[in-house]
């Protein structure tokens, strides 16, 4: 509880700083949002002026920020001037898509990364390790949009196993939902997969050199028992930390994937809002992503302290 109380002011301070910088960053971008909304064909000085007044863009920046912050604290992130939609509602409607995508991507990445890392670490330096490591580096260097298009061409266009684009909600049809989510989740997982694999492999190699592993071997325990029960658990500490952090960052990672596969998630909402210079929507979504990041980080910090007594005592 003491730790919680000590960290809470930092958490609030970070969120305030994030909200302030987001607001300033978006507001200080060159160009007038009223001009964007009206477009080149509809611009006249009177129309621009009228719209600026309607959007409250004539008021000082700080006043606008404090107004927005006051509403944000009550959960009201405002209403988009472009679409008329409530920002909070827009985010909450799209959150399940991004969350499902993120969870599926991380699960797929873990399912693939753990055995590959074990095989790789088990024969560290061998041909298979080199092959897996090489493939891992190759995956890390493939941009996610390329992976997405590649997967789409092979599995949707050529083989017709999955839909190329679109999203079916789980409530409509669980099977169709999984089918529509699998390709984008794979595309997203490919980025994470290589990272997890490299991380776990390094920790596993280190663990496999410990005395207790030699002891287990000397006791005649089968290989799979030693790898799964004795080596994997102590080696997955860093992996779990990274997975926790990645869960917070999955929203930002999903921006391109959601755009390519036309998924109605938070990432796509952010991308479209930036293109349309929808200030309130961009501010709201960035604040939401930042809050998720900060909160997850905070929880990981707490877990760290709980799991490792040295960190707790250091405080």
């Amino acid at each position: 509880m003491k730790l919680l109380l000590r960290k809470l002011p930092w958490l609030i301070g970070t969120l305030l700083a994030v909200s302030f910088f987001t607001f300033m960053l978006v507001s200080l971008l060159p160009g007038d949002p009223a001009v964007i909304i009206l477009g080149a064909g509809g611009v006249s000085p009177e129309a621009v002026e009228a719209l600026r007044l309607e959007l409250g863009l004539d008021r000082p920046l700080l006043v606008r920020y404090l107004d927005w912050l006051g509403s944000a604290l009550t959960g009201d992130l405002g209403r988009s001037a472009m679409t008329g939609q409530r920002v909070t509602e827009a985010i909450l409607t799209r959150l399940p898509v991004t969350l499902q995508l993120g969870v599926m991507a991380i699960t797929i990445a873990l399912i693939l990364a753990i055995p590959l890392a074990m095989v790789s670490a088990y024969r560290a330096g061998g041909r298979l390790d080199r092959l897996i490591s090489g493939a891992g580096f190759a995956l890390m260097s493939v941009p996610s949009f390329m992976a997405a298009i590649f997967l789409m061409l092979i599995f949707a266009v050529n083989l017709n196993w999955f839909p190329a684009t679109g999203w079916i909600p789980f409530s409509v049809s669980p099977a169709a939902n999984l089918r529509s989510a699998l390709l984008p989740a794979f595309a997203l997982a490919m980025i994470e997969l290589a990272l997890y694999m490299r991380l776990l492999r390094t920790d596993l190699i280190s663990t496999l050199q410990q005395d207790f592993i030699t002891l287990a071997r000397a006791k005649g325990l089968p290989t799979h028992t030693i790898m799964l029960r004795h080596a994997l658990r102590p080696s997955s500490f860093s992996l779990m930390t990274v997975v926790g952090l990645q869960l917070g960052g999955v929203i930002s990672g999903a921006i391109i994937i959601e755009e390519i596969f036309a998924l109605p998630g938070v990432g796509r909402l952010l991308y479209q809002s930036i293109l349309q210079r929808d200030l309130l929507m961009v501010q709201g979504v960035v604040l939401f992503i930042a809050t998720t990041y900060v909160v997850v980080n905070f929880l990981v910090d707490l877990c760290y302290s709980l799991l490792d007594p040295r960190i707790r005592y250091a405080h």
Partner: protein, 591 residues
């Protein structure tokens, strides 16, 4: 000392490990090869020849029923006319399902009442009487009458902040004459007034619905169109169903349409190939090119008037001097500019405000447009450079400095660099400045620029286009080049007041010839608007008026959904049989 992990666990002491490893390695290579093969197949180029994928001249008998899935490049921010950005083709095509325009253009570019029963001007063309069809109701069952039209005009369009406010500035007010009749009062005479009613100001929405939904009205469009809204999940889909009370007897044919915004061009095409959608729309040349080489689809193309351009601020030295503008035009290689944009073989080089498909296109103006001639460009530029009274205030002999602003999009960056190279080759000193879109618009409308990459022209009536682009800058905010000329003023009078088509065509030609001489802007290529569908979808283009007159097709990929149909399984089986027989017959003939 502990041995390394490899020494302890690796090695050859356990034979099964090696067998398994070898088996895995062999399988790994097999999988890798299979993946490589699939990738090569997927990425291999399509056949280079143009396929015969033009839609049939006779689409066959209409079929009722079916659910059409249409993919678009985007969607609007708001469906309320006057509030939403209905200028984008994607939004326009959906609007054609939800709303009906009061007036529409036929295949010869002439305007005729559509949702309206009649539209009649007074002798001086500054008062127009519009009579509505009786019995037309909005999707919510409320009647379309004169009061509803007036309410739309007063509350959605003639209000500051409306995106249509600028376009209807010539309409002073609307007065209700009787239940179905209104009178439009204009601030000046205007023959092409009906053109305004083909667009958002002419798409009535239900006043009752707008009042009922309040701030959410833009999310719940209630028009008189052939389809009504069922559900809209922004950035995901817009689901429409047949309007059972549609005013056109026997229409629409389809039961439902789902529009899906798929902004990624490749993903949209992939969705058509994989069968996730039935119809797609695009304005990108490279996608049109790919679709031209695809079989099993029908491809509809229509050239638009809108073209990439470089506009000059004719009040800023040195581009205030026609010699400099002409030298800049003579230096350009339009084919190369089109190629940079990926439009070779797709977008013909534009030479005037109207594409080759337009009824207003002029062969004379095309011939008069400055053709690439670097020697002539150098000579014309030199004339300006040596002029002791040159407008930029520099000394004779000093180089001419040109600044061009453009957006930081990759294709436009390439385009701007091509402009720079071509102009530099004849002796101009060219600087490029990348600016964000809002800044570019703001700088152009405030006249704070010399040259800018831009899009010029559209599908409106020539009077509206030329009046916007070359009307007096003090009262015409859309005259971005600030170019005016007595010849244009004179011909605008003809376009404004003379309803005779031949006289109007001649006026357009005169203006186009003058622009070829004065060059307030240069051109790249016309915009190809294309719609592709699988072969079950019929009649995407040839819509008709209630009296059977042929409509204007699909300008900027804008489809009239009321008259589109989808072959059912029986009709599709018969059609496939017909295609097979035709192919066999052709093969036999070729043999």
């Amino acid at each position: 000392m502990l041995a390394s992990a490899r020494t302890v666990w690796g090695g050859r002491a356990v034979p099964w490990r090696n067998e398994r490893a070898e088996r895995w390695q062999t399988r790994g290579w097999q999988v890798a090869l299979a993946l490589l093969w699939m990738a090569i197949t997927a990425c291999s180029p399509a056949p280079s020849a143009r396929m015969d994928n033009l839609p049939p001249d006779d689409p066959g008998p209409p079929v009722y029923g079916g659910h059409l899935r249409v993919a678009l490049e985007g969607e609007t921010n708001n469906w309320l006319p006057g509030r939403g950005s209905h200028v984008a083709p994607a939004a326009l095509t959906v609007a054609m399902a939800l709303f009906d325009p009061l007036v529409r253009a036929d295949h010869e570019g002439q305007y005729h009442p559509y949702l309206a029963e009649s539209l009649t001007p007074n002798e001086s063309f500054d008062e127009w009487t519009l009579i509505l069809r009786p019995g037309v109701v909005f999707h919510d069952g409320t009647p379309l009458n004169a009061d509803a039209l007036k309410w739309n005009f007063d509350n959605l369009h003639k209000v500051p902040g409306s995106v249509t406010y600028g376009s209807i500035r010539d309409i002073e007010r609307i007065e209700v004459v009787d239940e179905l009749t209104v009178k439009y009062f204009l601030s000046r005479s205007m023959v092409p007034f009906p053109d305004l009613l083909t667009r958002a100001p002419g798409w009535p929405v239900s006043p009752a619905a707008v009042q009922r939904y309040g701030e959410e009205a833009g999310l719940n469009p209630v028009g008189t169109g052939p389809f009504e809204l069922v559900n809209w999940r922004r950035d995901d889909f817009l689901e429409l169903r047949r309007n059972e009370n549609y005013w056109r007897e026997g229409l629409p044919y389809l039961d439902a349409i789902t529009f899906r915004p798929l902004p990624d061009e490749d993903a949209r095409l992939a969705s058509l190939i994989s069968g996730d959608i039935d119809v797609l729309q695009t304005l990108r040349q490279h996608i049109v090119d790919r679709m031209r080489r695809m079989g099993n689809i029908y491809l509809y193309e229509q050239l638009g008037n809108s073209s990439g351009s470089a506009i000059f601020n004719t009040q800023t030295p040195p581009v205030d001097d026609a010699r400099v503008r002409r030298a800049l035009a003579l230096a350009l290689d339009p084919e190369a500019l089109v190629e940079v944009l990926g439009g070779r073989g797709i977008s013909p080089v534009q030479t005037q405000y109207f594409s080759e498909d337009s009824v207003w296109y002029s062969e004379r103006a095309a011939a008069a447009w400055p053709q690439r001639d670097q020697e002539a460009a150098r000579a014309t530029l030199q004339e300006y450079i040596n002029d002791p009274d040159r407008s930029d205030g520099r000394q004779p002999g000093e180089p001419v400095y040109i600044e061009m602003i453009c957006l930081p999009e990759q294709s436009l960056v390439d385009l701007a660099q091509m402009y720079q190279a071509l102009w530099h080759a004849v002796g101009f000193d060219v600087r490029l400045r990348q600016v964000e879109q809002a800044t570019q618009i703001q700088r152009v409308i405030s006249g704070d620029y010399m040259t800018s990459c831009w899009r010029t022209s559209n599908e409106m009536d020539p009077f509206i286009i030329f009046n916007n682009d070359f009307g007096p800058p003090d009262i015409q905010p859309l005259n971005y080049t600030n170019f005016t000329h007595p010849v244009i003023d004179e011909q605008l009078q003809v376009l404004q007041l003379n309803p005779e088509p031949s006289a109007r065509r001649q006026a357009v030609e005169q203006i186009s010839l003058l622009l070829a001489e004065q060059v307030p802007n240069t051109w790249t290529g016309s915009t190809p608007a294309a719609v592709a569908s699988n072969q079950r979808v019929r009649n995407l283009r040839d819509w008709t008026f209630p009296d059977g007159r042929l409509g204007d097709g699909m300008p900027v990929a804008q489809v009239s959904w009321a008259q589109v149909w989808l072959l059912d399984d029986a009709a599709w089986a018969a059609e496939q049989e017909r295609i097979r027989s035709a192919n066999q017959a052709r093969t036999q003939e070729e043999d």
